[in-house]
Amino acid sequence: MSHNQPKQGFAQRLDQLTPQLLILPTVLIILFLAIYPLLLSAYLSLSRFKLISGGFELKFVGIRNFKKLFSGSQQYHFLGTMGDILFWEWLIVAFLAVGFGYWIVRYLRSAKVSVIGSVGRAITVAVLLALTLLAFSVLNGTGYPGSLMVTLFYVFTGVAIQFFIALGLALLCAQKIRGKHFFRMAFFIPIMVTPVGIAYAFRMLMDMSQGPFSPIWSAFGLAEFSWAADAWLARWVVLIGDSWQWIPFLFMVLLAAIENQPKEQVEAAQLDGAGSWRVFKDITFPAIAPVAATAVLIRLIEAFKIIDLPNILTNGGPGIATESMTLHSFIAWRTQDLGGSAAVGYSLLFVAVVVCVSFFNFIGQRTVAKGAN
């Protein structure tokens, strides 16, 4: 043993350092390339950027950029044009406010109250109420949605549609059918296509007069119709393109989860004569809930970043109808308004964090808890 001593000493020291060595690269890289941009971006959003010879110059202007977005000359672009809020819409908001208030009070009275928890919940409630009000204001016909609302539309509607279609497909594909492997392979391919490419492909496909579906459109007399000239149609086309690309991801995850559910339970239930709906409700869904929640969370996170499709399919048009916040920020960059670009980016970050963290805490945790049971 003694001749091993020196070698062991060095190895021992290395071994002691291993925990740090293993985690440090990741932490350092992310710390630096995440904290630094976060802070600099915050500073950028509070300043005016000017390109000058040899580099650039930043002048601190306080919250001017945010003011411009929320109440100034860019308000129409970001929040949208406010319309009238109807009486019943006010009622709904009031009802929600009461509900949220009750929920917060209940939390404050509970045993596990903490400062962070209270502040977080308060912010969540405030943001959700504000967004609801804004939605009513700009979406009910008299107003016009800006990039904030359009992004939320893409995120919520898109993820919901994608989840349910993916779930349906996964359930069907999980059964005993022939060609399962083929379906799996085929359904996976859209993920591999570059989003820019998908955007162009869809533009080609949706061409009313030259695209592959034009005989169908002509039959309906729609050959000269332009979906790109109608605000909502354009948004839906972007959504369809986005769904085409991301359903495969949810499909793969859900299929794997469904195939991993406890088979004995399913067989037992089937032998007992339970219909497929009951099997799904009582066995399958609880089993895949944790996985599904995580997948939806991943999808939510990515959905906020949508830019390729609206940019290429419609250039953000007609007008500003399909502009997502990332696209808005990108367009601001193109005009050398880097302060404004950073301000939009930060607002997006804020909204995304509120939504994703809420989802994670309130739905994610609950399904994990259920699943663990």
């Binding site: 000058i52 016009y144 119709f225 605000a231 007008g319 193109r334 050398q336």
Partner: protein, 501 residues
């Protein structure tokens, strides 16, 4: 050596002979080429926007240039909407990945002031092959010079004009429109007729209206005749007294209304059509009228894609019988004093939109690279190449040399009929020589005024998000904001300088 052992003897001598011959040829070629190549090993990165216009001829001439001088020219393309910012950031941040670029001469202000562009006055003066005196004086001053120095080499000359289907108008008994009201009535009259024999209804007017593209000049083409009547130095963008934007008045409102009304006689997705698309529609025979640069004339004679060969006429931009009174903001009938250049009571202001794609060189590049870039642009601009390129529609290069206007043979060779060539060149010449020609904006950050503020407001207007008054207010507010940011007095001074005041 081991290999040779297995080669039958009689083949060996043949092989040896062949190898020797090949070596000799290569050496000879190498010697030939080695002698002439002064830019061997030099690579020039040239950035421009995605073609095929402009990019295609640049890409085509690159190997020719390489054969002559040994320089490798890389053409890097980016979408038009990104070009200005990409170049500015590349120069300003000192990245200098771009050695030279072909861009809008309006932007020379923002690139030359901070010193990013190479001053090529001396080289141009010494360049006999360029035949600079052959370039029309207007294009020389607008597209290549800034504050007395030459920074760019122009490859293209730009004027907005209207094109019309001679056969369709003749059949309907209509004359080419001289005013915008006439333009609308002609478009309305022929809209829906089948103009190319395919059984489908076609359109009275096709104007490019796409956002973030090259569409935002069209509205100024319409507004020019209403805004400017006293000649070029009156200007049509700002009031020369106080830099007030001339966008919130009856004249601009009239122009916006006409601009929107043309959509009634146009394809349903006109709002998504860029200039390339409308040109394609026009040459496929589906439009009776269009507003465009010189490309339509040359594209119309391309037998591989045009269905309207010999059926296209061109004319100077229509004008207006009313002119803006800048004091009151109202439109008034044209009189001899208010519209001294009016012809038959119609005031026309041909719009030198955009200027013409020109090449500039990054001052921070290597000397050899700069020299190679200069000679490359000169090569493309020289009459031997240029005269051919301007007759090919797909290149995006339109005539800018006096010889191109004067010598009709090149056009006839390209396939234009004599009548069509005279009509086409005549329209450009009329525009060029008009005393009431309207210059494009060339003040600092003009890209922001036009490509950002104007373009966004137009897109929202066309999408019916805002009405005429809100649109004009939005543009005025945006332009005033820019004026304030950059210093109104300074901008006024520079604006007046571009008008020669």
């Amino acid at each position: 050596m081991r290999l040779l052992k297995h080669v039958p003897k009689f083949n060996l001598s043949k092989i040896a002979g062949g190898v020797a011959a090949a070596c000799a040829v290569t050496l000879a070629l190498g010697a030939n080429t080695a002698l002439a190549k002064k830019f061997d090993g030099v690579t020039v990165n040239v950035m421009t926007f995605t073609g095929p216009q402009i990019a295609e001829p640049l890409q085509r001439h690159a190997p020719e240039f390489k054969a002559l001088t040994g320089a490798t020219v890389n053409i890097i393309t980016v979408p038009f909407s990104d070009l200005y910012t990409k170049l500015l950031t590349d120069f300003a941040t000192g990245t200098n990945s771009v050695d030279a670029a072909v861009f809008a001469p309006q932007w020379v202000v923002d690139y030359a002031d901070p010193g990013y562009l190479q001053d090529i006055s001396a080289q141009v003066a010494a360049d006999k092959a360029l035949e600079e005196s052959d370039i029309s004086p207007f294009f020389r001053s607008f597209s290549t010079q800034y504050q007395g120095k030459t920074y760019l080499l122009t490859l293209d000359g730009d004027f907005h004009m209207i094109y019309y289907r001679t056969d369709v108008l003749k059949e309907a008994g209509l004359a080419p429109p001289k005013t915008w009201d006439e333009y609308l009535s002609v478009a309305k009259a022929v809209n829906g007729k089948d103009m190319n024999g395919d059984g489908k209804a076609d359109y009275g007017s096709c104007i490019s209206k796409k956002r973030n593209a090259q569409a935002y000049w069209a509205v100024m083409s319409i507004a020019g005749g209403y805004l400017q009547g006293q000649g070029t130095s009156q200007g049509a963008f700002f009031d020369t007294k106080d830099m007030k934007p001339l966008v919130n008045n009856d004249a601009f409102a009239a122009a916006l209304n006409i601009y929107k009304e043309t959509s009634n006689y146009a394809p349903a997705d006109e709002i998504n059509l860029d200039v390339g698309d409308t040109r394609g529609l026009f040459t496929a025979g589906r439009c009776a009228l269009t507003i465009d640069w010189g490309d339509v004339g040359t594209l119309a004679i391309d037998p591989s894609s045009s269905k309207v060969i010999d059926k296209v006429g061109a004319s100077m931009l229509p004008g207006s019988t009313k002119i803006l009174n800048r004091e009151t903001g109202k439109l008034e009938e044209c009189t001899a004093t208010s519209c001294p250049h009016a012809v038959d009571g119609v005031n026309r202001a041909p719009y030198a939109a955009f200027g013409g794609w020109s090449g500039g060189i990054n001052a921070a590049a290597d000397d050899k690279v700069k020299q190679a870039a200069y000679e490359y642009f000169s090569f493309v601009s020289q009459p031997a190449q240029s005269n051919k390129d301007v007759t090919i529609g797909a290149t995006g290069f339109n005539p800018y040399r006096l010889s191109q206007f004067g010598n009709i043979n090149g056009w006839l060779e390209a396939g234009m009929s004599k009548a069509a060539a005279e009509n086409y060149l005549g329209a450009i010449k009329d525009s060029l020589n008009s005393p009431n020609m309207m210059l494009d904006l060339r003040i600092p950050k003009n890209q922001n005024y036009q490509q950002v503020v104007l373009d966004t407001a137009l897109a929202r207007f066309l999408a019916s998000e805002i009405d005429v008054h809100q649109t004009m207010a939005a543009i005025e507010e945006g332009w005033n904001e820019l004026n304030e940011d950059l210093g109104k007095e300074e901008q006024l001074k520079l604006y007046k300088a571009t008008l020669g005041l």
